[in-house]
C-alpha cells in the first residue's frame, strides 16, 4: 500500500498534476526558455535539482521552521540552492548558462518550487517529498520539452540544434518569437483539457489558503470550470 502511494506521488507530478499544463504554475520560464529544445530541457533539469533539494530540506526542517516565518525561510533555502545550481551550470555548461541567462536566477521565484514547498513538503516526510520533487520536476521538464519541440521543429526547422531539411522551406518563424510562445502554450492547455475531459487533478491535497500565489493561481477557476462541466 505504502509503495503504491509513493509511486502515485511520483507519477502525479508527471501526468495528473503536471505543474505546467494542469496546475499552470511557473509560466514565465515555460514561455521564455522553450524556443530551443536544449534550452528547455536544461531549464527543466535545473529546476528539478532545485525542487528536489528544496523539498528535501524543507521537509527535514518542517518541525523547526516557525509557522509565521515560513515563507521567508523557504525563499532563503530556495535561493541558496538556485545559487549553487547557477554556479554549477556556469562551470560545467557555459553554453546553457548563456542561453538561460537571467531565467536561471528567476528559478528562485518560480511558483512551482515555492508552491510545492508550501503545499507538499511542509506536510510530508522526507522520502515522499523527495519523490514529489522528482515527479514535479520531471513533469516540468517534459512539458517544457514538449512545448519546445513544437516551437523548434515548426518554428526553426530543427530539433535540439539538428536541422530538419524537409521542413526548411516551411518554417513558421512566428513560433520562435514571443507571441508564438503564448499561442503554443494556449493551444497545449486546450489540448490537455480536451484529452483529460476537464481538470482531473484532485483538489484535496491542495489548500489554497496560505499559499503565496493563491489569488494569482488558477485552482479556483479550475474548480469552477469542473463544476460547469459536470452540470
Amino acid at each position: 500500500m505504502k509503495n503504491n502511494n509513493s509511486l502515485s506521488v511520483l507519477t502525479n507530478g508527471i501526468l495528473k498534476e503536471n505543474p505546467v499544463l494542469v496546475l499552470v504554475l511557473g509560466t514565465c520560464p515555460t514561455l521564455a526558455t522553450t524556443t530551443t529544445v536544449s534550452g528547455a530541457i536544461g531549464m527543466g533539469l535545473a529546476a528539478l535539482v532545485v525542487l528536489l533539494c528544496s523539498n528535501i530540506f524543507i521537509s527535514l526542517l518542517r518541525k523547526i521552521i516557525p509557522e509565521t516565518m515560513r515563507i521567508p525561510c523557504y525563499i532563503v533555502i530556495i535561493a541558496g540552492f538556485v545559487t549553487v545550481v547557477k554556479m554549477l551550470v556556469q562551470a560545467f555548461f557555459p553554453g546553457l548558462y548563456e542561453v538561460l541567462g537571467v531565467y536561471l536566477d528567476l528559478i528562485t521565484v518560480n511558483c512551482i518550487i515555492l508552491g510545492r514547498a508550501e503545499m507538499f513538503a511542509n506536510k510530508n516526510t522526507v522520502v515522499v517529498s523527495a519523490l514529489d520533487g522528482i515527479g514535479m520536476g520531471l513533469g516540468f521538464t517534459l512539458a517544457l520539452g514538449a512545448m519546445a519541440t513544437v516551437r523548434e521543429v515548426f518554428g526553426a526547422a530543427s530539433f535540439a540544434g539538428i536541422a530538419i531539411p524537409l521542413l526548411e522551406e516551411y518554417k513558421i518563424e512566428f513560433l520562435t518569437k514571443a507571441p508564438g510562445g503564448l499561442l503554443v502554450y494556449g493551444l497545449l492547455i486546450a489540448l490537455v483539457y480536451a484529452l483529460t475531459k476537464g481538470c482531473a487533478p484532485v483538489k484535496k491535497s491542495f489548500s489554497c489558503s496560505g499559499c503565496a500565489n493563491a489569488s494569482t493561481c488558477r485552482m479556483g477557476e479550475c474548480a469552477n470550470r469542473e463544476k460547469e462541466g459536470n452540470n
Binding site: 521564455a32 537571467v102 528567476l106 503564448l182 494556449g186 486546450a190 489540448l191 483539457y193
Partner: protein, 199 residues
C-alpha cells in the same frame, strides 16, 4: 543632451519594445491572474511599479558598493530576493499606517509581488546590463509602466472574452493565453521604432 536622449530611449524601449510581460515573459502570473477587472489591473500595475522603483533604489547601491567591492557577487540572488521581500513587507506596513485608503487599493496586491519574477528580474537585469544608478531607475520605471500598460490593455480584452461564447476546451486560461499572444504580436510592431526615432 546625449544623456537625456539615452534615458528616453531606455524608458520607451522598456515600455514598448522590450515589454517585460509581453516580450520577456516576466510577471506572467499576475498578468493572467489579476487582469480580470480594470481597477484590479491598475492597482496591481501601480503597486508593481512602486516596488520596482524602490527595489532598484536599494539593490543597485548594495550591488555596487557592497557585493562588488567585497567580491560577494554570488550572494546577489539570495540578497536581492530577501531585500524585495522585506521591502514589500515594510511598504505594506507603512501604507497601512500612513494611508489606509491607499492601502485598501494596493494592499491586497503587495504580498503577491514578492514572488513576482518581474521585480527580481528587473533588479538583476539592471546589473547585467551595466546601467548607472539613474539609468537603472529609469529602466525600472519603464518596466513598471510597461507592466501597467499591458495589464490595462489586457483587462479590456478580458472583459470582452467573458462575454464571448468560447469552445469548452479553450475556456479559462487557454483563450486568455491566445489573446495575450495577439497583444504580444501587436507589441512586436514597436520593434526598432524607438531606436530609429532617436537615432
Amino acid at each position: 543632451m546625449e544623456e537625456l536622449r539615452l534615458l528616453i530611449v531606455i524608458l520607451l524601449s522598456a515600455v514598448f519594445v522590450d515589454n517585460y510581460v509581453l516580450c520577456r515573459f516576466l510577471g506572467i502570473c499576475p498578468f493572467l491572474g489579476v487582469s480580470k477587472k480594470l481597477n484590479q489591473s491598475v492597482g496591481m500595475g501601480v503597486a508593481v511599479t512602486l516596488v520596482m522603483l524602490i527595489a532598484t533604489a536599494v539593490t543597485w547601491p548594495i550591488q555596487c558598493y557592497v557585493l562588488d567591492t567585497l567580491g560577494l557577487g554570488y550572494l546577489q540572488n539570495i540578497l536581492f530576493i530577501l531585500i524585495i521581500a522585506t521591502l514589500v513587507q515594510m511598504l505594506e506596513m507603512l501604507l497601512k499606517k500612513l494611508s489606509p485608503s491607499l492601502y485598501k487599493g494596493l494592499g491586497v496586491y503587495l504580498p503577491l509581488i514578492t514572488t513576482n519574477c518581474a521585480v527580481l528580474g528587473v533588479t538583476i537585469n539592471n546589473i547585467i546590463d551595466g546601467y548607472s544608478f539613474v539609468e537603472s531607475m529609469v529602466s525600472s520605471l519603464g518596466c513598471g509602466l510597461g507592466f501597467l500598460l499591458a495589464m490595462v490593455l489586457f483587462s479590456g480584452i478580458r472583459s470582452r472574452i467573458n462575454e464571448a461564447n468560447i469552445p469548452t476546451p479553450f475556456r479559462g486560461l487557454a483563450v486568455t493565453l491566445i489573446a495575450a499572444s495577439f497583444i504580444s504580436l501587436a507589441f512586436m510592431g514597436f520593434g526598432g521604432i524607438i531606436e530609429n526615432i532617436f537615432a
